[in-house]
């Protein structure tokens, strides 16, 4: 192919070449990094929470009036909820995964440790907690009813027995013998005994770096007169149950307000709304950049074809076939795109480095760049095809007819 003469001709119109090359370079750098960020976000969004998200919902009940009996109401409410048709199980909770609000604490293996061994989210539940969340117990046992203590914000649970997620268990006891071990949720003690391990349950915070470390604690923990409930319906009956719950609870005890019921599916959507928005915005940016680059190439190539009509005619007169002319413009585009891509490759890693430093984005996997090369080569060839075909149709007589 006639790369050398095309390149040397291009060197005489550097400005346009540099402009298009730069555009290709920027497109590569931004598209690669943006695609990577999107894939990261999508990966985050598709992590399992470890709980049943399809049949569950939660809500708050806040009592009013002097002497509201929050303890009695909780017991009554739970009994009522569990008796409703369509309800598989119910528990009191303080938080759920992806809700972005809850309790966390450090766990130590020794008393008065300077730095805790692991961070964990705390899920206060009653003996129905594991079942209602839909978490999968993989070792040990569930809580017993008599282990559940009644606490208040001023008198937090002692957590004599706990159930932890496997990730947390392995973090605390890498040898895999966490069951039955004693750990410290409070530095001075008392100790907590790990009685069970569940496969997985995310913390309420989707971006926590200890997102898989959670602990179930057997305790009722209302906030003043507010208590939260998590309800798991029988498969397919969630909406039906949600419709019935408020009315039944108010009928049983009218001196309170039932807050808005929220499905866990909704909680997930809201928890990841930022990630979804980011993915959509970056997707739009990618699309716009690719479109602008393609249009830039189309425009520049069209301009060059128009500008070189006579040259094309002359080349035809000198023996170029239509295919030769087509290839000329395709090769020219390939050269410009390649130069842009080489610069873009460096720019891509530069941008990646900056994102790593400034926003804790992980390192861009190397294969994004070669894939980006292929895509932008294809985009360039696609964009130049129209103008190049137009060039190939310039009649040879143009050589003698235009002055």
């Amino acid at each position: 192919m006639e790369i050398r003469p095309i390149l040397s001709a291009l060197m005489r119109s550097k400005v346009s070449m540099i402009l298009i090359g730069l555009q290709v370079a920027l497109t590569l750098a931004i598209v690669c990094n943006a695609l990577f960020i999107i894939s990261e976000r999508l990966e985050r969004m598709h992590r399992p929470s470890g709980m049943n998200e399809t049949d569950t919902f939660w809500f708050v009940s806040t009592g009013f009036g002097q002497g509201f009996d929050v303890r009695g109401t909780m017991q009554a409410d739970l009994a009522l909820l569990r008796s409703l048709p369509g309800v598989a199980d119910a528990t009191t909770v303080i938080s759920v995964p992806m809700s972005e609000g809850g309790w966390s604490t450090g766990i130590s293996l020794q008393p008065n440790q300077n730095n805790s061994t692991a961070e964990t989210a705390m899920y206060m539940v009653d003996a129905h907690g594991v079942s209602t969340y839909g978490a999968k117990l993989v070792a040990g046992r569930d809580f017993r009813a008599e282990e559940v203590t009644f606490n208040t914000m001023d008198d937090p649970p002692k957590a004599a027995t706990v159930i932890v997620t496997r990730a947390l268990a392995e973090r605390l006891f890498p040898d895999g013998d966490a069951l039955g071990k004693q750990v410290y949720y409070n530095n001075e003690g008392p100790t907590s005994t790990i009685v069970g391990i569940v496969e997985r349950l995310q913390t309420p915070w989707t971006s926590a770096d200890f997102v898989d470390n959670s602990t179930f604690v057997p305790a009722y923990l209302p906030y003043a007169t507010s208590s939260r409930y998590l309800v798991r319906a029988e498969p397919g009956r969630r909406d039906e149950v949600m419709g019935a719950v408020e009315e039944k609870l108010l009928a049983a005890n009218p001196s309170r307000i039932i807050g808005k019921m929220k499905t866990i599916a909704q909680v997930r959507a809201e928890g990841y709304a930022g990630d979804r928005a980011m993915a959509i915005i970056l997707g739009a940016v990618i699309f716009a950049l690719l479109a602008i680059t393609a249009l830039g190439i189309v425009g520049m190539a069209s301009f060059w074809v128009a500008q070189r009509t006579r040259q094309i005619g002359t080349r035809r007169a000198l023996g170029a076939t239509r295919g030769d002319i087509l290839r000329y413009f395709q090769t020219e585009n390939f050269i410009i795109t390649t130069l842009g891509l080489v610069a873009g490759g460096i720019l891509t890693y530069g941008l990646s480095l900056w994102l790593m430093r400034s926003y804790q984005v992980p390192r861009l996997p190397w294969h994004y760049v070669p894939v980006g090369f292929l895509c932008l080569w294809a985009l360039g060839q696609l964009a130049v095809l129209g103008p190049a075909l137009r060039a190939s149709r310039v009649p040879p007589a143009v050589a003698t007819r235009t002055v």
Partner: protein, 251 residues
């Protein structure tokens, strides 16, 4: 070398039809230097374009070097142009972004020669037109006469049998024009057939033969005695003769 009989060329646009050539017959022999003259718009360029396979004709016959070119596809025509024909244009038509070496290289690349062969030919033809020392220069750095010499070198590089020139001196002053003509004469002496359109009667007079085109027809030519011997070609030559008698030699 080039035989056209009863050639017709009609340009059709949606509104009008222009008959650029009608019943146009000409025979150019191997080794001839033919000057084509005629008023503006008479069809000289059209003739040259058809002769050089840049345009197709609408009627009649055309044989180029024994090949009936009617119905050849675009690629075959391109190949024939590349192998048999050298073009020289009034406006030189050098590619401004390529240096002289690369300009002359253009037809050779389409020919598919290897790099060594191309280099050899480029150096030879640029030497022949006296510009070997300017190979790395760009067209804009040359005078018009020099540019036309480069164009001639480019036309010659592929050793074509036929050189077609459309007013090659039209953009040159008379001194440069004479130089270019002398170069063409020299090339012709070395065996290349030349058909040259020109306005300049002085230059035309130096060709072997003059063909005068008026209104798309050959109305005038001067004799071609030195080349009359060939019996195969005589027939066509005679077909042109009656028309030649209809008008006086250029007055």
């Amino acid at each position: 070398m080039l035989t056209m009989s009863h050639l017709q060329k009609v340009y059709r646009t949606h509104l009008i039809e222009t008959s650029a050539l009608r019943d146009f017959s000409i025979h150019v022999r191997e080794g001839e230097f033919v000057a084509v003259t005629g008023p503006s718009g008479s069809g000289k360029t059209t003739f040259l374009n058809i002769a050089g396979l840049l345009e197709e004709f609408t009627g009649g016959e055309y044989q180029l070097d024994g090949i009936d070119v009617h119905g050849l596809d675009d690629n075959a025509r391109s190949r024939l142009r590349n192998e048999k024909i050298g073009f020289i244009f009034q406006g030189f038509n050098l590619i401004p972004d390529l240096n002289l070496f690369d300009n002359v290289d253009v037809p050779l690349r389409y020919r598919g020669y290897n790099a060594a062969e191309r280099k050899r030919r480029i150096e030879e033809v640029l030497g022949r037109v006296g510009l070997a020392s300017r190979m790395k220069h760009y067209p804009s750095e040359l005078s018009g006469g020099q540019q036309q010499r480069v164009a001639i070198a480019r036309a010659l590089a592929g050793t074509p049998r036929l050189l077609l020139a459309d007013e090659p001196t039209g953009n040159l002053d008379s001194l440069m024009a004479r130089g270019v003509l002398e170069l063409l004469e020299e090339i012709n002496t070395q065996g290349t057939t030349i058909v040259m359109v020109t306005h300049d009667p002085e230059l035309a007079a130096r060709a072997h033969r003059n063909v005068h085109v008026i209104d798309g027809q050959v109305t005038d030519f001067d004799g071609e005695p030195s080349l009359r011997e060939s019996p195969r070609e005589a027939g066509i030559g005679e077909r042109e003769s009656p028309r030649a008698e209809a008008a006086p030699l250029h007055s």
